[in-house]
């Protein structure tokens, strides 16, 4: 892990000085995006004027379904191209616009996918090993001379084992990734992305479809990542989680960035409420009804709830593990 001098209070204090406006400047941006638009036929899926992402922070990207979050991710990671030429984005000071996706990853920005892309017919360990970028043995001419890469391979296996341990996947090491549960795949995808020690990791709904026990551990991992100096940008629909772990929140609606701010205050923003209610007015408000309530209040309640829950969860996790152990 890189030795980024991480200080959470300092980070929060720095972010506290940032204006809570769409496109506001950050004290130390790792990613700066300008004028990205993407049209599909008639609709404009993404129309981002300016966005900066703070280095070392967990930034949440939220917005209703179809807001353009995934498309935005696709564009900055080179999996899709913007519709207009004037788009620019810089990562760690380097212009990576129009770079192909693998170059973006090599520059240190690694992503995961909303629809998990575990490599099913490969073992969990092989999945992990594929995640590492600096491998001489991946070059064609070196590959046949096995002594030139076996040493490095050993190091990588160690590193992979360490990460698998951390992501509670170590027992699955030799299993095919296709046999993992949905949540475990999410974990694997994250762990795999971390094999290359990325400067920034972009997670597209890492918590979607994951059971509460795993969610809890995933959240822990994400915070852990930040604490080790990795910048995290993640998409999430569950407001509880966003509130819980992010340092900064960016809200997208209909392709545009409509609000930005600290997790506690951004939900009070009228633009955000409009965005969510606007797109959900004909549906059962359900969970979204909480949007109308006082988010700070909610956060406090949650804080206490969580402490109680965490104990219960640990028991639950234990129970689940035991059950799984018996199954195998």
């Amino acid at each position: 892990m890189t030795d980024y001098p991480y200080d959470r209070t300092a980070l929060r204090a720095e972010l506290a000085t940032v204006d809570e406006l769409p496109g506001s400047a950050k004290p130390e941006p790792i990613l700066i995006v300008d004028r990205i638009t993407r049209r599909f036929g008639g609709i404009t899926a993404v129309d981002v004027e300016h966005l900066e992402v703070q280095r070392g922070a967990i930034t949440a990207l939220i917005g209703p379904n179809g807001a353009g979050k995934t498309t935005f991710f696709n564009i900055i990671t080179g999996f899709d191209s913007p519709s207009a030429k004037e788009a620019r984005w810089r990562f760690q000071g380097e212009t990576i616009a129009s770079a192909s996706s693998f170059k973006v990853a090599r520059a240190g920005m690694v992503r995961t996918f909303q629809l998990t892309k575990a490599l099913s017919a490969m073992t969990v360990l092989d999945n992990m090993l594929l995640g590492s970028q600096a491998q001489a043995g991946e070059r064609l001419l070196r590959s046949v001379f096995w002594p030139s890469w076996t040493g490095r391979e050993k190091q990588l296996v160690e590193k992979a084992d360490e990460l698998l341990e951390r992501f509670t996947l170590h027992d699955k090491r030799e299993d095919y990734a296709g046999s993992l549960s949905g949540g475990q795949r999410k974990l694997l995808e994250m762990a795999r992305a971390l094999m290359s020690d990325p400067a920034m990791i972009m997670l597209d709904e890492p918590m979607a479809g994951v059971n509460p026990a795993l969610t809890q551990s995933l959240l822990g991992h994400i915070q852990d990542l930040r604490d080790r100096g990795t910048t995290v940008l993640f998409v999430e629909h569950d407001m509880h989680m966003v509130q819980h772990i992010s340092d900064w929140v960016v809200v997208m609606a209909e392709g545009k960035i409509v609000a930005e701010g600290r997790p506690g205050s951004v939900m009070k923003n009228q633009a955000v409420i409009d965005a969510y209610l606007g797109s959900h007015h004909d549906q059962d408000l359900g969970d979204d009804a909480v949007l109308e309530e006082d988010f700070d209040e909610l956060a406090k309640v949650e804080e206490t709830e969580r402490e109680v829950e965490e104990e219960k969860l640990e028991e639950y996790v234990e129970a689940v593990r035991e059950a799984e152990g018996e199954e195998n």
């Binding site: 693998f102 996918f113 575990a118 017919a121 594929l130 992305a193």
Partner: protein, 332 residues
Amino acid sequence: MDFGQFLVQLLTDAGGSLVSAVTAAFVLAAIGLNLHFGYTGLINIGQAGFMLLGAYGFAITVEYSGDFWLGLLVAIVVAIIAALILGLPTLRLRGDYFSIVTIAFAEIIRMIGDSPALQSLTGGPVGIQGFKFQGPFVALSPLPHEGTLSLGPLTAPYTGGDSWWLRIVTWGAVVIIALIALLLVKSPWGRVLRGIREDEDAVRSLGKNVNLVKMQSLIIGAVFGALGGVFYVLSGSVQADGLGRSQTFLIYTCLLLGGAATVFGPILGSLLYFVFTTILTDVVTTYVPHTVMNVTQIPQFVWILVGVGLMLLVIFRPQGILGNKRELNFIG
């Protein structure tokens, strides 16, 4: 013919097909296809096109230069060029486009070879007769240039035509190429290949130059195919129709029979395939009255069974004999 005689004939024929240079040639092409299809997930349905191209490149060069090694080099170089031309536009596209383009490529090669337009070079539908290009290969033989050798029931000349010399060289090539393939697929490079087969976007997101690796795989498999083509024609003639779509499908059958995405699958599959069709042909020839099936219908009957066999194999045992069912579930 009594049964004992028939059995001897059967075993001789089966043994002959086991060591035949043609079998070895198909093993080479199947190893190449295995890199494409088994490991990289590239559905190349023009492998016979690479064989044919290699065969023409070799035969024409040797015919005009008299140099065996130059011919081999040209066969490899034309395969590389063809793979580049094919791969550059299509490897970044969806898989089915690649498939269609490969079969189109193989057909173009075959049609050009078959066409009277280039008759002076390719011999048109008549092809290039063996005596025009086999000389330099025969001359390389350290074995006696006269006489025949019998090993068990198999008798063949030491050198020249379908000789022991040819068999030693082709099977030697099989050993070398299989070894190279083994080293390649067991390396981290091979791991990237398998990753690409599973989901190339995932592999891209991990910083791998997917298009480059796919191209490398395409080129290597194509070169193996071209070498197979060279050995295929060394005992016969170059004939465009002899390396058409049927041969590509036959290579698939061999590969799937042995087990795709395994190192020894293509070898085992080809051996079994050739032994099986030999035995089947002998049995049908001997026991089915000619009024029911005449001589031209027998090979056709065997091919029908091969087609049905390919279907059944893909449906009921896609992993073949050696493959791992879970690794080869043809996702997508």
